[in-house]
Symmetry: C2
Amino acid sequence: MPAKMIPDIVIGRMPIYLRALTRKYQSGRTVTSSQELGERLGISAAQIRKDLSQFGEFGKQGTGYNIEFLIQKIQEILKVNRIWDVALIGAGYIGHAVANYGGFHKRGFQITKIFDTDPSKIGKEYNGIKVQDFSTMKTEIQKAGIQIAMLTVPAEAAQEVADQLVEAGVKAILNYAPVSLKVEKGVRVQHIDPAVHLQNMTYYLD
Amino acid sequence: MPAKMIPDIVIGRMPIYLRALTRKYQSGRTVTSSQELGERLGISAAQIRKDLSQFGEFGKQGTGYNIEFLIQKIQEILKVNRIWDVALIGAGYIGHAVANYGGFHKRGFQITKIFDTDPSKIGKEYNGIKVQDFSTMKTEIQKAGIQIAMLTVPAEAAQEVADQLVEAGVKAILNYAPVSLKVEKGVRVQHIDPAVHLQNMTYYLD
DNA sequence: TAGATTGTTAATCGATTAACAATC
DNA sequence: TAGATTGTTAATCGATTAACAATC
């Protein structure tokens, strides 16, 4: 148990800050302020300062935040100042797209294993990684000590695969299947479901 | 201005309820309760009842909610009791995967237009839809009166494309590019960024 | 120094939960 | 009827904002 419990909602904003700061850094800026960042993100300056102050004092009165330094600090906080191995389950269209996405590495992740049940896919290489037989998943993930998985299997299979992942020791699942997964405490799940996001916006349309 | 202002956070949970209810319905169930639904989703029964009561009285004391009826009501609330035309901008790996995803239609959406700048892609068909030249995007979207777009272009291009979409009359953007988009009031944006979701979970790993 | 911006406290605002009368 | 579950109110809890002393 950490000395100070930091709310999930604050943790959830940190990757957003990191992404914006990295972008600013790439554009050549060296310093920013809570106000500037807030305007960029549509978040109040007070909230950004409050969020950051949960983890330490990273700014300087009068001048603001050194971007490179703040990036480092947030990377440390989120533990992405390293590269996490990720297993990808499901080598369909979405799995293929995810496997070929080049942006993971510089944000702390690399896909090192891909699994599928389809014999026509097993043995093929996606972005240099061989698709392995799903039946070997559990032992392979255990052996490799992988803690993170991305799930791009059909909705019907998702819960069963998730159960196996948890048994294999996976502690974080990014689920692309359009179902709410149930997992034991101590395992984190995040959902990506484009239809859910779209339905969220249609309420406001006419 | 609606008579009663319903919080965004409540709207955000409605598609989740809808997804779970649809699944229950498909499995042959006809009735459910706030408690059962809550257990399934990891949400308190009280919150589900409170959320639903914002829109009307859909349940019966003693028995709970008729699933088919509640599905209909939520579809009406979210305005997905119709099919929305969606434009897809960017025909790379992700765009390709999204175009081929078969689950949109039964959830209220169909991709009717695809645009890209790459001459090697223009003219090709993705899931029966011809990829059109990006330079025609604005007029085509305007002509078709499309209000929803999915953005699967590189990060560098995303803001510029979003600006053009808004000029064309688009009111809802689902953005797959890893940047925070700035849009004028009255336009809704939702972000899908797998690295952000993953970074959110690594905080809790060790 | 004068101006700017942080980190933090207290006040406000909003969301969640607990409890229960109503009623199927 | 007896048991179950809703819709809603009031209480609690948590998150956001405003304000400002500290200080670069």
